[in-house]
Homo-oligomer: 203 residues x 2
Amino acid sequence: MDLNTCLRKMELVGVLAFATVDEEGAPQIRNISAIYYEPDALYFFTARGKNFCKELLADGRVQILCYTRYKEMIRLSGKAYAVDEDEQIKWRDRIFQEQPNLENVYPKDTKEIGIIFCIDHAQVEYFNLGVNPIFRETYALGNVIVKEKGYDITDKCVGCKKCQTVCPQKCITEGKPFVIQQEHCLHCGSCYEHCPVKAIERR
Amino acid sequence: MDLNTCLRKMELVGVLAFATVDEEGAPQIRNISAIYYEPDALYFFTARGKNFCKELLADGRVQILCYTRYKEMIRLSGKAYAVDEDEQIKWRDRIFQEQPNLENVYPKDTKEIGIIFCIDHAQVEYFNLGVNPIFRETYALGNVIVKEKGYDITDKCVGCKKCQTVCPQKCITEGKPFVIQQEHCLHCGSCYEHCPVKAIERR
């Protein structure tokens, strides 16, 4: 898997879930389909009066979730910003040209209540539970440092094999220390909980 | 539409997007399908080592989004809590019996890393962009007070009809004051922005 294929899959799925945080620090989620894809960025339309817009302008952090027909999950984490005033109409027109059904929601001049946001720096995670062992990978869109999650086995490892026994995906390799195959790890924490010498750390 | 039909639609869609907030106050979203539905509650499985579990235990606020094959959006907002210790296995077994594929992810005893959460108080929003005008409604699961969103026209209204002209969904009725048909409102804010006498308030 790779970044471009992930972005193309998102485009093909079309309707994605966008999560933000509201002024009370609570999670907010909604479907968005009015998105235009460039190879290195995505542009999306919402209305200025929506809480979604308020949340994007106040904070900007957004996570986008895509679930494909092949049961893959793709998750993009980035910061959205409002596109410059003189570029707004260009991107709005592209979105409405590509998705004529939007004209039913915002007919004629009423689409002027819209605002275009862009995400061009993001971390993109691919996660496939439908293969055995499960598979995950992370990519960078733009110049971002990818934040690794999950667990690592440290030098405190005594090689007792307990972690291998309790791993649901059998993704721990013997060695000094033992090693978690990160691309196959569920992040379930079973090895971490069971290690008798506390050799396993959260990343 | 009604609460029970919404819950049944969620059950039929199966794989839903769950949003939480992490320790840095950032939005986090992932797909969850290991859910068991009762008429008045939903129970779901995750692993104790996942960030998702950490976020649920630390904060508990969650929004769940469902997008149906009929292009309806259903959004549940509630607080999740870990089920009592002596009820954990009962609910886990029900989820695994109903969804045998989970055994591929957490085989045999490895499912002991799981934890069951329950949501039995929530606000459930139904939103359908595929009808004209669009349609929305909100329901309560358990004893919760539904928080209304969108806009209201106050007594400052002078009846100039500007709001009717700019409403994308033509959902404003004449009167003293004019009235927004809340079940058809996009919450786009167009009437609010254009009202010449600032008669429209955010709810």
